[in-house]
């Protein structure tokens, strides 16, 4: 099949269709960002005109038409201004007098809308407070390359050509599939680079336009003013922060302000008087598109593999049926795993690199968590708390050894049940009982900083011993009696039999109890939540409690997710180390 003319055509067509689809999606996104820039520029222009144009009369709600005409025409002469703009006073065009007038109906709408490739936003009159009356419309046409030129100049274009060529060549010569997969991945990434570039341009365009308008406004403000202050020109930069700043190059740039990436531009209001306009960069919201574009591009190689598989198994219908059945059986479990394990994990990953406002913040949350002294306190408490594990393990093993000796009969069974009772009881109920117990003595053990964590550890030992004992009992029963008989004949006393035979043979079980115990210790939450709330003075503030507080009390979900991932990494490392140190597999001969 591979190598035939039909196969080559099929693969090439699939590759071409997907390349075009990727280019189209990328182009659509680029256009969307260009339009978003136009909308903001139009709004800034309208705000600028309202700031620099004096009112018609002292208390009029209209702008002075003559002044407005001058200011509107001056716009197109601003050095560096490159966005086609039209200003309508009521329905009359002011910049290009020969243009067709607006329909009166357009004046009654206040939201930005598109007409003939330009965005229309309302121009409002003077208003001491609240929104002024609509006195006209500002129309801005997005700048940028045409559709054809836009596609040809995009990074994705050569990548698209390459992917089609590689796919075709692979089909002709039966090359390994990974060549096409690599080319498709390159296409997806190039398309994403285009989208991200467009998003960045969109923010830069607005910042550039806003800078020009604000600087112009600083010189054209009407009325008696001694000095321009930022609040005079701030309306031009609606939706952004305007703060005093040092002089700086006038090109837009990115910088991190209080842990968040911001797009900024320096604006000169007068000699030595600079402000900085800060807004959130549009490219921070493009993260999802890397997934979409890469996914779309990789459908090509997947489709090729699937086609190949269908072609091959068409001659072997049984294989096809069996494979389909296998996937069918796998589907429920795989779906469950995907929805309840993989998806939440990915979501936590996503949340951990985004700020409260939803903007991408990189590793800022992780940095914030690592610099938080309370996090370190909670980690220390958790490590201290997890020291209960070896204690309860020793007790559990001792009890299991006593109860597992032959000939113990019914009393042993009853004792097993008694030891297991605390483990089977309601966690909250047990917690409340211990709360009242801890308050009985001469002092409030749970309310004392030095003893509170110790009480929690004791409580946990009390509940866990039974469960660990059961696991050890099962492990002891798995050890063949012959080893102990041999050891007795070899001359081992009871302690030597335990230490040199039973304990080494129990190693896999011990490892299991240790690993699950440490993981459980790191996940402990309920007792702290029910008994101490992390107090007194953070003495029982364990790490999961810290995660909970960060998320639900401080509503810092990004940081809570970051901390969760750090704990996950820590546990992964600890478990790996335990396996490395103790996990040499004990094989039974």
């Amino acid at each position: 099949m591979t190598g035939t003319r039909r196969w080559v055509t099929l693969v090439t067509v699939v590759a071409a269709v997907l390349a075009v689809a990727v280019l189209a999606v990328a182009r659509w996104q680029e256009q969307r960002f260009a339009r978003a820039a136009a909308v903001r520029i139009a709004a800034s222009t309208a705000a600028y005109l309202a700031v620099v144009t004096p009112p018609d009369r002292a208390d009029s709600s209209d702008l002075n038409l003559a002044q407005l005409l001058v200011q509107a025409r001056a716009l197109t002469t601003l050095p560096g201004w490159r966005w086609p703009v039209e200003v309508y006073h009521v329905t009359a065009p002011l910049v290009d007098a020969a243009a067709s007038p607006l329909s009166p109906a357009e004046l009654e709408r206040t939201e930005p809308r598109w007409r003939d490739g330009a965005v229309l936003v309302p121009l409002r009159g003077p208003a001491p407070e609240g929104d002024g009356a609509v006195v006209g419309v500002v129309a801005v046409r997005p700048s940028g390359r045409g559709v054809v030129l836009g596609v040809l100049l995009a990074w994705a274009f050569p990548a698209a050509l390459l992917s089609v060529v590689v796919a075709a060549a692979g089909a002709v010569r039966s090359r390994p599939r990974r060549h096409y997969a690599a080319a498709a991945a390159l296409l997806g990434l190039a398309a994403y680079a285009d989208v991200r570039g467009a998003a960045r341009r969109s923010t830069d365009d607005w910042l550039t336009a806003t800078r020009l308008l604000m600087q112009e406004a600083a010189t054209r403000l009407p009325g008696p003013r001694i000095r321009v202050v930022p609040t005079d020109v701030a309306p031009v930069a609606a939706g952004a922060e305007v703060v005093w700043a040092e002089s700086a190059p006038q090109a837009p740039r990115r910088k991190t302000v209080r842990g968040e990436r911001r797009a900024v531009v320096a604006v000169r209001l007068g000699s030595g008087r600079w402000v900085e306009v800060r807004t959130s960069p549009a490219e921070a919201t493009t993260g999802v598109w890397v997934v979409v574009l890469l996914g779309l591009a990789l459908i090509g190689p997947l489709a090729r593999t699937a086609l190949q598989w269908v072609e091959r198994s068409a001659t072997q219908p049984r294989t096809l049926r069996e494979t389909a059945a296998a996937w069918g059986f796998l589907a429920p479990a795989a779906l469950h795993l995907a929805v309840f394990s993989v998806a939440p994990l990915l979501f936590v990953l996503y949340v951990s690199v985004h700020g409260a406002a939803g903007a991408f913040v990189g590793l800022a949350n992780f940095r914030a968590v690592l610099w938080d002294p309370q996090v370190w306190v909670s980690l220390r408490n958790t490590v201290l708390y997890s020291l209960y594990v070896p204690v309860s393990m020793a007790l559990a093993l001792a009890v299991a050894l006593v109860l597992s000796r032959p000939g113990r009969g019914r009393p042993a069974l009853v004792l097993r049940a008694v030891f297991l009772l605390p483990y089977m009881s309601s966690v909250v109920g047990v917690g409340l009982v211990w709360q009242s117990l801890a308050g009985l003595g001469p002092k409030d053990w749970l309310g004392t900083q030095r003893t509170a964590l110790l009480v929690l550890m004791l409580l946990t030992v009390w509940t866990q011993v039974g469960a660990q004992m059961m696991v050890f009992l099962a492990g002891l029963q798995r050890i063949p009696r012959a080893y102990l008989d041999a050891a007795r004949v070899d001359g081992a006393n009871a302690w030597q039999r335990f230490w040199r035979v039973t304990f080494p043979l129990l190693r896999p079980v011990t490892l299991f109890v240790l690993v699950t115990g440490v993981i459980g210790a790191f996940q402990m939450f309920t007792y702290v939540y029910v008994l101490t709330g992390g107090g007194p003075l953070h003495a029982t503030d364990v790490v999961v409690h810290r995660i909970y507080q960060t998320g639900w009390d401080a509503l810092e979900f990004g940081r809570a997710s970051a901390l969760s991932l750090l704990v996950f990494g820590l546990l992964l490392g600890a478990t790996w180390a335990q396996f490395k140190l103790l996990g040499r597999e004990a094989e039974y001969a």
Partner: protein
Amino acid sequence: MASVTLRGLTKAFDGATQLALRDLSLEVRDGEFLVLLGPSGCGKTTALRCIAGLEDPTAGDVLIGDRVVTHLPPADRDVAMVFQNYALYPHLTVHENIAFPLELRGVPTAEVGRRVAEAAARLGLADLLGRRPAELSGGQRQRTALARAIVRAPAVFLLDEPLSNLDANLRLELRAVLLALHRALRATMVYVTHDQVDAMTMGDRIAVLHEGRVRQVGSPAEVYQRPADVFVARSLGTPAMNVLAGRARGTAEGGDERMFESGSLRVPVALPTYEGEVQIGVRPEHIGVSGVDQGAGNGDVLNVELLGNETVVHLNAGGQPLVARLPGLVDVQVGTRVGVKVDRHHLHLFDAGGMRIG
């Protein structure tokens, strides 16, 4: 080196209705290789574990040499035991396994190394000392278990079916190894097995156990040639001895001759003082096949096994099943009727209860 004496040993397990050992008495001589032979459940392993100290007898005594050790822990008895499943400690290497009993006794390290090397060399394990039991073959594991037993030169070796998990060739090889060890060490060895070939080929003496009792003790030849009862008779020899139940009557001529009748067979036997219910045992090699009506009676051929060096013929002589073992390849057709010859010089006579007569 020491003898082992069991005096009236009785063992009852909790919850079991039958006694595992019933008043069992036995003496294993110093330096002897004694085989405890019997089917599973006959108590042979229990007896061995009582000697080792792994089981506490309900009544009776165990003596090693002149010392009563009945209630001493295994460590104080100076015995070594080899288990059916080898019981090599899986977490230790071959070297560590062999050194284990020495280390427990506080033998100095240098001495341990020397003796382990010696035992390993004797059993051909010198190249395997660094391996773990899981990396050994069955034969190598059994050699390691033997090395662990010999390394501390105990007074008595106890071997619990040590060859039963090995394939046929390895069994042959390890039998030779064991016998060589026995000769070299001049050690007292008690060997438990259900395999009569092990018993016949290895034992200085064989003790046949049944239902917790010793049925017969003697050299392999004695036990084979003069079995004390039907059970012992059928325990040794393949195929097992034919045991015919029937009646002995006086003949017309009178005298010592009695005529034994069982099924269609009539066999004259020398049985001076006995008449009535009796059993006679004939080993398959002492039964022959002849023309119809030319033997002690006639039988129908049920099955023929051609083994090359011999032919085993299964017969039905008037309701009495018989097995004959004929030398060489013999042409006998299944479904035909043949005459049955019985070699009257190799008859074993038992009374109705199965005990030997005369």
